[in-house]
């Protein structure tokens, strides 16, 4: 109504507005000096290296199996990325895979049609996600503690439900379809479509919607977010439910891919998921990160694994390489920050005034959201 603020007069609006640069760093710096770019570059370099030095790497089968093997992680990391951006964490996803696998297997075993059984499992996953969410938001418990507890709980239920039975005998049309290439000779399996669709969905939600703005705001400062009309607890609750849904859908997929429902399905996936996300430049303190980065982190690990496996190297070395890559990625960022801090403090003073508000990383940027 009358609050037409445009009528407020201020001196030299146009002039001042023109003074602000859009970005404090040049385009190439912004594009190149970011984790996503570095990781994507690393993937490309690694693939080039592997193609030239590792026999058989160039075959489509390599990429087909690489995507197949990493599909569960690539799917699960999507909602967990959002959770980590709000500053929470969900360590129970691996157990939710097992849980959903158990529900799915038992439902199928009980004669429920496959799609319905899958539906039951996904709904079950949503419910356990809701349980996590309620404990974290309504009760106010720290998510790390809660999901360490439910990690044991959901896994325990899965193992308890299935016991020593492994439910197999899923229709082979379905299991074969899942592992089949998109078309004959294609370097990607069917599940690639699902990954891409779900990833685009999450990327759009996170980066292009008001909801996604809220997600970032919660991670940057949940108090400020609440004061800005972000429904903080509702958002966090939704994310935990989403995580449960996606993890349980992954559980159904995993069960079908390997045609086996057992209680230990998805064991240890949680740390792989977190590793991929963190490698992809998502800040574990919340507030920073992207779907692209997290996915790239997952793909980099998958590519590394594939390269080493094809080179005949066993899992012991692979696990050292994975750990070292993770440390290396943050160490490089740390050292780069250190050097640029040193270099800039030696650089000459450009000018006072507006120029002096050039952004530099805060040397003591202690996680602010504690």
């Amino acid at each position: 109504m009358s609050a037409d603020t445009a009528t407020i007069t201020t001196n030299a609006v146009g002039h001042a507005a023109a003074q602000y640069r859009r970005h404090s760093r040049t385009l190439w710096r912004r594009m190149l000096l970011r984790t996503e770019t570095a990781i994507v570059l690393a993937i490309i370099l690694l693939i080039i290296f592997a193609i030239t030095t590792v026999p058989y790497f160039a075959q489509p089968y390599t990429y087909l199996t690489m995507i197949l093997n990493s599909a569960p992680i690539l799917l699960m990391l999507l909602p967990v990325t959002l959770i980590i951006i709000t500053g929470d964490i969900d360590l129970s996803v691996g157990s939710v895979v097992g849980f959903s696998s158990a529900i799915f297997g038992l439902s199928f075993h009980a004669g429920i049609p496959l799609p319905l059984a899958a539906g039951v499992a996904v709904v079950g996953g949503g419910l356990v996600g809701l349980l996590n969410g309620v404990l974290v938001t309504v009760v106010g418990l720290p998510s790390l503690a809660v999901t360490i507890g439910t990690l044991a709980l959901f896994r325990g239920i899965a193992v308890g439900l299935l016991g020593t039975t492994a439910i197999t005998g899923f229709p082979s049309e379905v299991t074969q379809f899942i592992g089949a290439p998109l078309f004959v000779g294609a370097p990607a399996p069917m599940v690639t479509v699902a990954i891409i669709v779900v990833a685009i969905g999450f990327a759009v939600v996170l980066h292009l919607t008001p909801f996604g703005r809220g997600v970032f705001a919660i991670g940057l400062s949940s108090e400020t977010a609440a004061f800005s009309g972000v429904r903080v607890n509702r958002t966090r609750l939704i994310l935990f439910v989403l995580s449960g849904l996606v993890a349980s859908a992954t559980g159904v997929y995993y069960t079908l891919q390997y045609s086996n429902a057992i209680g230990t399905n998805g064991l240890g996936f949680e740390l792989q998921v977190v590793t991929a996300i963190v490698l992809g430049g998502v800040s574990i303190w919340g507030g920073r990160g992207s779907i692209l980065g997290a996915l790239a982190g997952g793909v980099l690990i998958a590519t590394l694994n594939k390269t080493l496996q094809l080179a005949g190297i066993g899992s012991d070395t692979i696990s050292i390489v994975t750990g070292a890559t993770l440390i290396f990625s943050v160490v490089v960022a740390g050292i780069a920050g250190f050097i640029s801090r040193r270099r800039r403090s030696k650089a000459s003073v450009i000018a006072a005034g507006v120029e002096k508000h050039r952004a530099i990383p805060n040397p003591k940027s202690v996680p602010s959201n504690h």
């Binding site: 058989y56 199996t65 492994a166 390997y258 086996n260 057992i262 496996q309 094809l310 899992s315």
Partner: protein, 319 residues
């Protein structure tokens, strides 16, 4: 000992004498390290290009990437002890489609050319039950079974066979509980403790996996109150069990020679790639120092009867 990088060479001269990838349940597992040692020895004798790769964990699909690699690098044969027979099946089928011969050992899967069985399921069940019933005598009593992973297909088969056997032939014995030690020392120890304390009049524990039997023996040797009351037997590695056998806590336990298992699997793989055998019943082949073997029903080759260890021989083995 593990993960010898065989990369380039494996690929290039795969066309030569033959090449074999052995995939154990996991790296760093004593039992499989022993079987891999036997496999390596056989491969050396045969001049095979040999590699041993595998996961460090025992997740159901953890072995899959290594099967894929074997397919891609043009291995002639794979010898695998599957953690989860169903989960690796699709990829093993793909391997067979690609012309790779698949030998399952230790644990059977549906998608293989041949299965090298350490001993028949019935043989193992019979062996362990016989040891136990002989000890218990006609009086019989309550016993418990302490197994490893709840999803280990071979262990479950043995447990089932033992249960059936006891029901059929030993009415004097009752099985009170089947517990699982999950292949983890601490859990197996606690499970053994749980069984001994919670089952009154427990007379014996049969532990058909190496971790469980070792930890059951361990708990027993730590706890004199149960010594002489609870009798423990199972399938164990002599190197791990020696202490308990010498000290008298354990009298007898069984196993086969895991090195021989790997050795036999390698000869079978070679015979398959050479075309000497196809895996059908009645095929015959010679496995070096182990002598001649015949493929039995369902493409199964049995290493031999279970070997029983006691005070007199337990020190003679290195595995």
């Amino acid at each position: 000992g593990c993960a010898a990088p065989t990369g380039g060479s494996t690929g290039t001269d795969a066309a030569g004498a033959g090449s074999l990838t052995v995939i154990p349940k996991s790296l760093g597992n004593k039992y499989f390290e022993a079987s891999d040692k036997g496999a390596k020895a056989a491969a050396d004798e045969l001049g095979l290009d040999f590699s041993e790769v595998g996961p460090t964990s025992t997740g159901s699909a953890d072995q899959v990437p290594f099967i894929q690699t074997a397919i891609q690098t043009g291995q002639k044969a794979i010898a695998i002890a599957a953690n989860d027979p169903a989960a690796v099946c699709n990829d093993l089928k793909a391997a067979q489609d690609a012309g790779v011969k698949v030998v399952a050992f230790d644990t059977d899967t549906d998608c293989r050319d041949i299965f090298i069985n350490q001993a028949t399921v019935d043989g193992i069940a019979q062996g362990l039950v016989d040891l136990t019933s002989k000890h218990l005598g006609t009086a019989g009593g309550t016993i418990a079974i302490l197994s490893g992973g709840a999803n280990a297909a071979n262990l479950n088969a043995w447990v089932d066979a033992m249960t059936a056997l006891i029901e059929k032939e030993h009415p004097e014995i009752t099985i009170a509980q089947v517990a699982y030690g999950e292949d983890v020392d601490q859990k197996a120890y606690q499970a053994a403790q749980g069984l001994m304390q919670s089952i009154p009049d427990l007379k014996a524990i049969i532990a058909p996996d190496t971790v469980s039997v070792k930890e059951a023996a361990h708990y027993l040797s730590d706890t004199p109150q149960f010594q002489g009351k609870v009798w423990v037997t199972g399938l164990g590695l002599p190197s791990e069990m020696a202490t308990y056998v010498t000290s008298g806590v354990i009298e007898q336990f069984g196993l086969w020679n895991p090195e021989d298992l790997g050795y036999l699997a390698t000869y079978a793989a070679d015979a398959l790639t050479q075309g000497t055998i196809t895996g059908k019943e009645g095929d015959k082949f010679t496995a070096g120092k182990l002598g001649d073997f015949t493929v039995g029903a369902g493409g199964e080759v049995v290493l031999g009867p279970m070997f029983v260890f006691d005070k007199s021989n337990v020190g003679d083995f290195s595995f």
